[in-house]
């Protein structure tokens, strides 16, 4: 986000900061727009800004032909910089593996309504891409992020007809500087996820339009990794018991780093720390086995799978597609690529009584433990 944007956004937010943001914030209220002071606020800013990194990586992939995403550029605030081939390859695997899981979900039991909740959605374009692919009536989409990020996202939607025409009311209800938006298909919630974990608050923060009765896929693409493990447990428990109580089918997809304890992992942890980015759950769930176990612990008892992105590239990407992608750029750094890809994973788990939509969609899709 460019510096010139920040001040006026904050001013706008100051008047708007309502009950839904920063509930149960730690410490005394800070200056307008940042309810926390000192190190915490700086760390939050660093985490919020990771989103523009993700956006830039997406744009680089799109421009080079790795990904087909006409919306990525519309959300990026920084001029696009070409990423190194190995980073493009990694972003490609990340996006296409998650897309594959979501596509299987969407195309199982067609015609039945479905719901997706994207935690720390940032500038993710998935809602808009899904609108182009599936009949709009079938999907209710929710995004949660910090107000500064949701405001920037909604502002971008308002600016671009390609985006606002995808909304049921063509964004008519969107006001300048809005941090939240709701409609029958697309919902943006300005919220610190940590407020959901606050046990002193009786009721969970409201998520307007969240339907407790339709199959729901929760997505954390590089989001929950920035929170404490206990906070993550509480958030997911809120979802599995309060927001989407049983027996509604519910699932979780995680994309995040693993293997913090080898040489590469140690350098990763310290490099990110020097950018004020902490990854608290990384050391708690260091390996794929830990990822599967945590999914079960959260309550995703009918399936709990995980694979690193190196494996996913080899097993989930068709030979034809591999050839196409390999032809996009000369990729010299093969050993490094393998190292990098082995340090990120996708984990997916579900609760649907063993016969619901997720079992049908994903039951046959094996992970690296079942099939190597």
């Amino acid at each position: 986000m460019s510096n010139t944007n920040i001040p006026d956004l904050r001013t706008l937010l100051a008047s708007r900061r309502g009950g839904s943001t920063r509930r149960g914030a730690r410490g005394p209220p800070g200056p307008p727009g940042s309810s926390q002071s000192g190190r915490g606020a700086a760390a939050d800013d660093a985490v919020r800004n990771t989103d523009q990194d993700a956006a830039g990586s997406r744009v680089s992939c799109v421009e080079l032909g790795y990904l087909n995403d006409p919306y990525a550029k519309l959300f990026a605030t920084q001029p696009s910089t070409r990423r190194l081939p190995l980073l493009n390859r990694g972003s490609y695997v990340r996006t296409s593996a998650i897309d594959l899981l979501i596509d299987r979900f969407m195309s199982t039991a067609p015609g039945e309504p479905k719901q997706i909740v994207s935690l720390g959605a940032g500038t993710d374009t998935r809602f808009f891409r899904l609108q182009d692919k599936y009949p709009p009536a079938e999907l209710v989409y929710h995004e949660i992020d910090f107000p500064l990020n949701t405001a920037a996202k909604l502002a971008a939607i308002q600016r671009h007809p390609q985006l606002f025409t995808k909304l049921p009311d063509k964004a008519a209800s969107l006001t300048t500087g809005a941090t939240s938006y709701s409609s029958s298909s697309y919902n943006v919630h300005a919220l610190d996820l940590r407020s959901m974990a606050d046990s002193t608050v009786e009721a969970a923060p409201p998520l307007p339009n969240l339907n407790p009765a339709i199959p729901t896929l929760i997505l954390s693409e590089m989001c929950l990794i920035y929170l404490q493990a206990s906070t993550v447990s509480s958030i997911l428990s809120k979802f599995l018991t309060t927001y989407i109580p049983a027996p509604t089918p519910v699932s979780l997809i995680l994309y995040e780093p693993i293997l913090p304890n080898d040489a590469f992992g140690k350098v990763m942890t310290s490099n990110l720390a020097s950018r004020n980015i902490q990854l608290p759950t990384l050391s708690v769930y260091p390996e794929l086995g830990d990822q599967r176990a945590r999914l079960k612990q959260y309550g995703f008892v009918d399936g709990a799978r995980a694979a690193d992105t190196e494996w996913l590239w080899r097993k989930w990407v068709s030979e034809e597609e591999k050839e196409r992608v390999a032809g996009l750029e000369m990729l010299d750094e093969l050993e490094e690529l393998e190292l990098l890809l082995r340090h990120y994973c996708i984990a997916w788990g579900w609760r649907d009584g063993g016969q619901g939509v997720f079992s049908k969609a994903w039951g046959e899709l094996h992970d690296s433990a079942e099939q190597s």
Partner: protein, 441 residues
Amino acid sequence: MSIGGSDLDKAIAQLRACRPIPENQVRELCYKARELLIEEGNVVGVDAPVTICGDIHGQFHDLMELFRVGGDVPDTNYLFMGDFVDRGFYSLESFLLLLCLKVRYPDRITLIRGNHESRQITTVYGFYDECVRKYGSANVWRYCCDVFDFLALGALVTGAATSLSPTEGPLAENAEAMPDIDADIEIETLNSAGEVMFRYARNSDSQTSESSQTLGSSPARPDPTPTRVGAAGTGASGSSNGTSRNEGGAVLCVHGGLSPLIDTIDKIRLLDRKQEVPHEGAMCDLLWSDPDDIDGWGLSPRGAGFLFGGDIVKRFNHNNDISLIARAHQLVMEGFKEMFDNTIVTVWSAPNYCYRCGNVAAILELGEDGSNAGFQRRSNGDRGGGGGGWVLGSNDGTSTRNSTDNLRLPEGPGRRYRVFEAAPQDSRGMPAKKPVADYFL
């Protein structure tokens, strides 16, 4: 102005401080270097002792660490196997320093070409951008690329001792049981403090038990991670005097590896190298290929060069009287990795590659044979009689896999690996503005 004599020393001093030299000096330097390199054959002859280094990739401060560990130029005789530029923040300073040293001490440093010494690759992997950023134009990049075209494709090291005299240094804390000091020492691994981490003797019991494993990534080998204490390591010269035996074959150094179009070293000599690295063909293969656990040749996932198996290496070494191929090109977490019964080694000299990978680096020292005098360079027939030739693979239970296991290969040189870590963070002066997207966020 011309660069020579004291100007050259000034430029070296400036570059050692990691400050670029003015554009006109670069032009002059590159011109001089080209005049020098044009005289070199495609395969440069190098006499042991020599210290062989792998990829540097613009990690200037780690190059300084390499010189600290391996000794300075001209005290130590160096051979760099390419990939000086790209990826790191200081490709320019690193390459120009090496080039200055080459012009200043042409007999003490050999530079051969890596696949990154190419116009096309440097525009993707950073060297081009770095030149434009530091000089405001692409001129310096162009001068450097013109030098790249003249770099040799390989080097042939002759006169290397077949065994090391053991380093009289302290043992590293985690060193394993060492063979008898009187034994014929084939391999030694030292940390950056000059402490011995690992040593083994040719044909000894430890040899037998280790020979089927891959050195450099063998779990039986002690952890190569060095501790940072003590004085600088000594250079290759002097510290690794060999015994008087002289049965070893030569060591071929090349950035990538072999080519299906090249079955003799003479065929490398016949190539027309003074051009941009082509997309295919022998010259491309030499700079791009990788050894792999396959039989014969395979397609490379890099999109250039080939994969080649142990049978290819053994046959090539046998036919060319080579005892060892030293190559770089592939990141190795332990700094070096021997393969195919010690017939080929990968040497990697960029620690914590890209400031991200967490690997250690290594350099390979070959000592001088005591009786260097009568050594026949490029001899193809005589394989040094006297029953010395160690039959590679004979200890390997699965050795009937292919016929090359029965080839008698020249005895390998004694090899001293010095392993080192990245220069301390505070000495490297990371640019204030960190590069974007090191990781997936």
